[in-house]
């Protein structure tokens, strides 16, 4: 059995099970660390950098969602420095692609937009990249709009780890990275896709949506997929 350890989070002593991430320990102790790529029940990706925390004795900031809690660790989950970095990460997501909240199906139900609001991002300091990106409407029920994708890879992980279909991957490199269906083909041509819609339910932004929804109309049930993930975890 994994042993119990204690760590300090924002000065408070917390008990944790060895192997738990800082994020999990914080959450279990009622601390909210901002996150975008993290999703309960699937493996962590550490891609968004919103969950960065300070660990005493470590110079660089560490992502809470991928860093295991260790005996005696002292973690700080909020500080001016962390807020600065989190804002920066968000701003870079906004400039990378085309986010036009006013005409987005996810307006008002978007995790990226909500985080910007809670972290006080009222404008973006950097010039917008304004890339020309495709929208894949080839699937009979769903749409993938690359303009809104932040490459969190939640879709990749739920499809692989929960549905077991592994339709999605992230192809390309750096700024050219894109979510791709199978070997980069139109989603509608995918043989593996079961049309279960789990990827659509967990996408934090307006990138994966159901057809037929207008501006502001796309709401999701992330928690339903998380529940499935928990069941699957318990069964295996």
């Amino acid at each position: 059995m994994p042993s119990q350890i204690t760590v300090r989070i924002d000065g408070v002593l917390c008990t944790a099970t060895e192997g738990q991430t800082i994020f999990e320990v914080a959450e279990a102790n009622g601390k909210v660390i901002p996150s975008l790529c993290h999703m309960e029940g699937v493996s962590p990706a550490g891609s968004c950098r919103l969950c960065l925390v300070e660990v005493a004795g470590v110079d660089r900031l560490l992502p809470a969602c991928t860093t295991p809690a260790q005996r005696g660790m002292a973690v700080t989950t909020t500080s001016d420095r962390l807020v600065r970095h989190r804002r920066l990460a968000l701003e870079l997501m906004f400039v990378e692609r085309n986010h036009v909240c006013a005409v987005c199906v996810s307006n008002g139900h978007c995790e990226l937009q909500a985080l910007a609001m809670s972290l006080g991002v009222t404008y973006v300091r950097y010039p917008y990249n304004s890339p020309r990106l495709p929208v894949d409407v080839s699937h009979p029920r769903f749409v993938l709009d690359h303009n809104r994708c932040i490459l969190c890879s939640r879709c990749v992980r739920v499809c692989d780890e929960i549905e077991g279909a592994h339709v999605w991957d992230i192809g390309g490199r750096g700024i050219g990275s894109r979510v791709v269906a199978e070997l980069d083909q139109p989603w509608g041509d995918s043989q593996a896709c079961t049309s279960c819609g789990k990827c659509v339910q967990v996408c934090p932004t307006g990138a994966l949506v159901e057809k037929g929804y207008g501006v502001e109309e796309m709401t999701r049930s992330n928690s339903a997929v998380a529940r499935l993930a928990m069941k699957k975890g318990a069964a295996s």
Binding site: H99, C104, G108, C110, Q113, T122, Y123, L133
Partner: protein
């Protein structure tokens, strides 16, 4: 007490933010004695005046005319507020940014026209390469995002500025 000189205008916007401003309704009456509205769609002034205390600007900077206007507004104003998403992010006017200006103009004025095909060279100001948020062109003192920002939020901002405070918009203003 001297009144604060307030100016409002829009560049490449839909006037929705100004609608929201008017939606402040009766609360405007309480603010009115504190301000002197020196420029805007509701007053007669033709030229943007000198020595404006607060200028509230809606819309993105999309063409040559917008560019000249915003530079003048900046020169003549102490505090410049970017009102709404078009002024803050570029928003809908900036959806053309991934496409070359020439392609857009040809699509609209040549392919899309039934009569009088041809890209206009007079009267209509030349488009900039991209539609830009105000702060890409001039220094902006306060950003109030929203499409449009709510009347309540606009009133809050005006009141705070009149009291000489910088309004804290954290957790209250959002894009969209």
């Amino acid at each position: 007490m001297t009144k604060a000189r307030l100016a409002t205008t829009w560049l490449d916007g839909c006037s929705g933010c100004h609608m929201s401003l008017l939606d402040i309704d009766e609360a405007l009456v309480a603010v009115a004695p504190l301000i002197d509205l020196v420029y805007g769609p509701l007053v007669d002034a033709q030229e943007f005046p000198q020595d404006v205390d607060v200028a509230i600007v809606e819309g993105a900077v999309s063409n040559q005319d917008d560019l000249e206007k915003i530079r003048l507004i900046r020169r003549n104003s102490h505090i410049l507020v970017a009102l709404g998403d078009c002024a803050v992010t570029g928003n809908v006017p900036a959806m053309r940014n991934p496409i070359a200006v020439k392609t857009i103009l040809e699509r609209v004025y040549v392919e899309g026209a039934d009569t009088g095909k041809g890209i206009p060279t007079e009267v209509v100001p030349a488009l900039l390469k991209q539609a830009l948020p105000l702060h890409d062109v001039v220094k902006v003192d306060l950003h109030l995002p929203g499409c449009p920002p709510s009347a309540r939020l606009i009133l809050f901002v005006i009141k705070e500025l009149l009291e000489g405070r910088v309004p804290d918009l954290k957790s209250s203003a959002r894009f969209g």
